[in-house]
């Protein structure tokens, strides 16, 4: 029997974007205030999972044609590369650099190399979560 999921699908089309926007907000809030790559990644993954629930896995694969294993590998490499940059400057591993810049529109902004690391973490979290969920979901 096919259930009627018009409501779910209609709501999802809106809610997914709200979740994704919130994920971006949380991601950039990280480091100085609560947030960051891990929780941002989880939120993004939850948005994709919501899409999968409302529609189905093949549809979502068509919308987002990403190999999640490769995504997590790329994220891991970005994270390690950021941490390893400290080797080039001969300071202890994981040492970050930051400074304050006057940017147009934003005004005085703190730019931190931890952001690059967090992008890596974000990609790993999305990649691993989606790999796990897809593996379980396809297993029928």
């Amino acid at each position: 029997m096919r259930t009627n999921d018009v409501m779910l699908q209609t709501a999802t089309k809106v809610v997914t974007f709200i979740i994704l926007m919130f994920a971006v907000h949380i991601f950039f809030a990280g480091h100085y205030t609560p947030g960051g790559g891990f929780v941002g990644g989880l939120l993004t993954a939850s948005a994709i999972v919501l899409l999968m629930l409302a529609f189905d896995i093949p549809t979502v694969k068509k919308i987002i044609p990403i190999n999640y294993v490769v995504l997590s590998a790329v994220g891991l490499l970005i994270a390690i590369a950021t941490a390893s940059a400290s080797i080039v400057f001969d300071v202890p591993f994981f040492t970050h650099a930051y400074d304050y810049f006057d940017l147009p529109l934003f005004g005085e902004t703190s730019l931190h190399s931890a952001l690059l690391f967090d992008i890596g973490v974000y990609l790993v979290v999305v990649g691993v979560t989606m790999t796990i969920i897809q593996t379980i979901g396809e297993d029928e």
Binding site: L77, F93, F94
Partner: protein
């Protein structure tokens, strides 16, 4: 280079991530994996020479001051273990290429091995007890992937047990770390070594020390917590079994050795006495298993448990001879266990079974293989001048100098049982009437035999050249017996 201590941890991680990008390209997978391990070996050798020239290398991540940031510490003991684990992984990789099967190779076998190596080397290097937990989780994740890799029925059955045991012990680990933190207010091992002697509540610290012994005992497979090991290790293919047998339990043994020499020394009358008794019981339990089975894999698996007991008995004596013996024996055991598992692996390929009673008469068709096996068997039992001998000699001497002469007697007596258990394999498989064997072509056989034979040759070199290695071993022992060397290196600023 202030970050040198981290190289053997970071290099396999980078290569593992790269390998995940193209799982299906067989030749690239093999080449990149071997390149990664070789690069790790090179960095470990550089680190080894640095440590032996300049003493303990410590780096605290993120430029935080020492007790607050996570310290990575490479002393002689840890670098020796990093070096031997990397060598073992390299040879096991060579052995896996002809044996593990294309299907496994194309579904993330090599990344999993490299992640395992990241965890093992990290656990040997870290100087922070919570970070030790993290690295043990990293290697456990990789081992979960490896133990179920291929998805055969016995693997699935045994991996559930393995998972349950490890999840429970990990939960205990976190609780034990929390107790320790609530009592001492620090998790940096060097800082713990400073703070613990100042705390008067010895009772609660003793409880925590025993809790840690239980946690690490699960990983190290001590009596009576070894029950999960024989079944779980039996399931995966031989190359994975060799990695597990040579590396995983050794991380638990290392953790016990480190914590019980560096900071859990406030009540040695109780904790180290307990460790000595458990070590002896572990040896006895292992001997029973090693003699009871007619399955070659099971016999060697139970020999892992015996070795764990021998090493821990040495460390429980807390004197120079005992500790140095344990270090030497630990390095020896990593190499010889990997070699024996690979040898037994070839044996099962040739006979098509791992049951001893269905084997026989191989010495006529494979003489060199037979004698290599005999050398490895003698090495395991500790016949001079092979590599098991110097370590065991020192451990026994440590027991006689300490308070546990009866323990030394047990170790001497059980050495004969160990010898019997492995020579039994030799007698059954190589002597007697030849039975029907699987014909394998020469090239395939050599691709399995050559890495194994080199590994056996390495153990012979380790034993015969013990005089050459002893200075490094006593260096390592000195840091364990004088925690102030370790503490000063970490908290120097």
């Amino acid at each position: 280079m202030s970050n040198l201590a981290l190289f053997p941890v970071v290099i396999p991680l980078i290569f593992a991530a790269i390998l995940m990008l193209f799982p299906k390209k067989l030749h690239m997978q093999r080449a990149v994996a071997i390149g990664g391990v070789a690069a790790t070996l090179a960095s470990a050798l550089v680190l080894f020479s640095k440590v032996s020239n300049d003493g303990v290398q410590a780096v605290t991540l993120g430029s935080w001051p020492a007790p607050f940031g996570i310290s990575m510490v490479s002393d002689m003991f840890s670098v020796l273990l990093v070096l031997s684990s990397t060598i073992v992984t390299l040879f096991v990789l060579f052995y896996s290429i002809p044996t593990i099967g294309v299907k496994r190779e194309q579904s993330f076998y090599y990344p999993a091995v490299l992640f395992l190596m990241t965890g093992v080397n990290g656990a040997f290097t870290t100087g922070d007890i919570f970070n030790l937990f993290v690295f043990i989780e990293v290697l456990l994740m990789a081992s979960y992937a490896l133990i179920v890799h291929g998805g055969e029925k016995p693997q699935l059955r045994e991996s559930i047990k393995y998972l349950l045991v490890n999840i429970i012990s990990s939960a205990l680990f976190v609780s034990a770390v929390a107790y320790l933190y609530s009592v001492t207010g620090t998790l940096n091992m060097a800082d713990l070594a400073v703070k613990i002697p100042q705390i008067e509540a010895v009772g609660i610290l003793t409880v925590i020390a025993v809790l840690f012994l239980v946690v690490f005992g699960f990983k190290a497979a001590i009596f009576p917590l070894y029950f999960w090991l024989p079944g779980s290790y039996f399931a995966p293919p031989m190359a994975i079994l060799a990695l597990f047998g040579a590396l995983l339990t050794k991380v638990g043994v290392y953790a016990i050795m480190r914590t019980y020499t560096l900071f859990f020394t406030m009540n040695t009358g109780f904790t180290h006495e307990l460790l000595a008794i458990i070590a002896i019981l572990t040896i006895l339990a292992g001997c029973v298993g090693a003699l009871a089975y007619f399955d070659v894999k099971k016999i060697i698996i139970y020999n892992i448990i015996i070795a764990v007991g021998v090493i821990l008995f040495g460390i429980s004596q807390m004197n120079a001879a005992g500790v140095e013996g344990s270090i030497f024996y630990l390095v020896h055991d990593m190499l010889i266990k990997a070699a024996l598992f690979l040898l037994v692996g070839i044996l099962t390929v040739i006979f098509g079974t791992s049951d001893l009673r269905k084997m026989g008469g191989l010495i006529k068709s494979y003489p060199l293989f037979g004698w290599t096996f005999l050398v490895a068997a003698f090495g395991l039992a500790g016949i001079p001048p092979l590599s098991g001998f110097p370590g065991k000699l020192l451990i026994v001497q440590g027991g006689f100098e300490g308070t546990h002469f009866w323990g030394s007697l047990v170790i001497l007596a059980t050495s004969l049982l160990v010898l019997l258990s492995v020579v039994r394999i030799f007698i059954y498989a190589f002597w007697g009437e030849p039975v029907k064997i699987v014909t394998i072509d020469r090239k395939h056989y050599l691709s399995m035999f050559v890495p194994t034979a080199i590994l056996v040759a390495l153990t012979v070199f380790l034993g015969a050249g013990a005089e050459l290695f002893m200075p490094f071993v006593s260096d390592a022992g000195e840091v364990l017996l004088n925690p102030s060397l370790y503490i000063d290196a970490v908290l120097k600023e």
